[in-house]
């Protein structure tokens, strides 16, 4: 199991980025009663059989890990959501893309901590490839969004320690802003 919701997000978002997507959208929302995470992409997609197998911990993409018989990404997430008063759903279509949605009870004692949302998003922005990634975050009605293309335009690149650090500072300022607006602290 992963330690935090951010870790679950990182894990499934990697699937999207690796699925030859050129557009990945992540929403991470805290509503009154639930926390909802949705990851959708326009990558290669899966057929019905593969979608079913991907939820089995003893299956992995044979192209990715030819000699292995384990793939824990989605099974971890399903187990976590289902034990935290939440839900899990996945829909996918070959050549069209995949959408994973999960929810967690916000006050459920078993729901993992949010974890490092800022670091997670920054790291996802800094993966290899020419994909667009849009991250939408909301907290009790306060909202911000970040696009990878905007960061690339401002920074020139997202592969060096210097640029990744600046991207992190930027995302952190947006996250702190909604936290601040929520608490109303000085």
């Amino acid at each position: 199991m992963h330690y935090s919701l951010s870790d679950y997000l990182a894990d499934i978002a990697h699937n999207s980025i690796e699925a030859k997507s050129n557009y990945v959208k992540i929403t991470f929302c805290e509503f009154d009663k639930i926390i909802e995470i949705v990851v959708s992409d326009n990558g290669c997609g899966m057929d019905e059989e593969t979608v079913r197998k991907a939820q089995d911990p003893f299956y992995t993409d044979p192209r990715k890990h030819a000699a292995r018989k384990a793939g824990f990404g989605l099974p971890f997430l399903i187990q976590a959501a289902e034990t935290c008063e939440g839900t899990f759903s996945i829909s996918s279509e070959m050549g069209v893309g995949t959408k994973v949605r999960c929810t967690f009870g916000r006050t459920c004692i078993d729901t993992p901590p949010l974890g490092e949302i800022v670091s997670t998003v920054t790291a996802l922005m800094a993966m290899d490839g020419g994909y667009e990634l849009e991250f939408v975050r909301s907290l009790d009605g306060e909202e911000y969004s970040v696009k990878r293309s905007e960061l690339l335009e401002a920074l020139g690149e997202l592969e060096t320690a210097g640029s990744i650090n600046m991207a992190r500072i930027y995302v952190n300022s947006l996250e702190e802003n909604i936290q601040h607006n929520k608490t109303g602290e000085a």
Binding site: M1, D7, F76, E116, S119, E153, A154, L155, G162, Y170
Partner: protein, 129 residues
């Protein structure tokens, strides 16, 4: 710091770039962090954060930092590969945030291996006699 705009971010980058352009830089160091399910579960994101922060503390901001999936060493995650000119390409294992900081200071800046974390003997059962 208050909420930044993209213009603020660009200005920050332009300032930093002026500073970097004034000195000789070595763009030949690459750090690759294993960020598969196994890596994440073992704390690779904390390692990623700590190494980015320390590279910036040590002012070696032009080091390329990449993320990869599972490298097949799930039992000894987080794993970090360092490719630097003048040094052997090295895979480190069990790289916690603290070890990540040491790798930046000792290997990348100091040119010395962090010996106790070098992964030099993978999977004895698959090695030939």
């Amino acid at each position: 710091m208050g909420k930044m705009t993209l213009a603020d971010l660009k200005a920050m980058r332009d300032d930093k770039k002026k500073e970097i352009d004034r000195r000789e830089t070595d763009k030949s160091v690459t750090v690759i962090i294993g960020m598969g399910t196994c890596g994440i579960a073992a704390g690779a994101k904390a390692t990623f954060d700590a190494m980015i922060a320390e590279l910036n503390n040590c002012d070696v901001v032009d080091v390329v930092v990449k993320q990869t999936g599972c490298m097949g060493f799930c039992a000894v995650e987080p794993t970090v590969q360092v490719i630097a000119s003048g040094m052997p390409t090295t895979i480190y294992n069990r790289v916690s945030a603290e070890v990540g900081v040491r790798i930046v200071k000792e290997h990348i800046v100091g040119g010395k291996l962090v010996s106790e974390h070098v992964y030099d003997n993978p999977s004895k059962d698959i090695l030939a006699d």
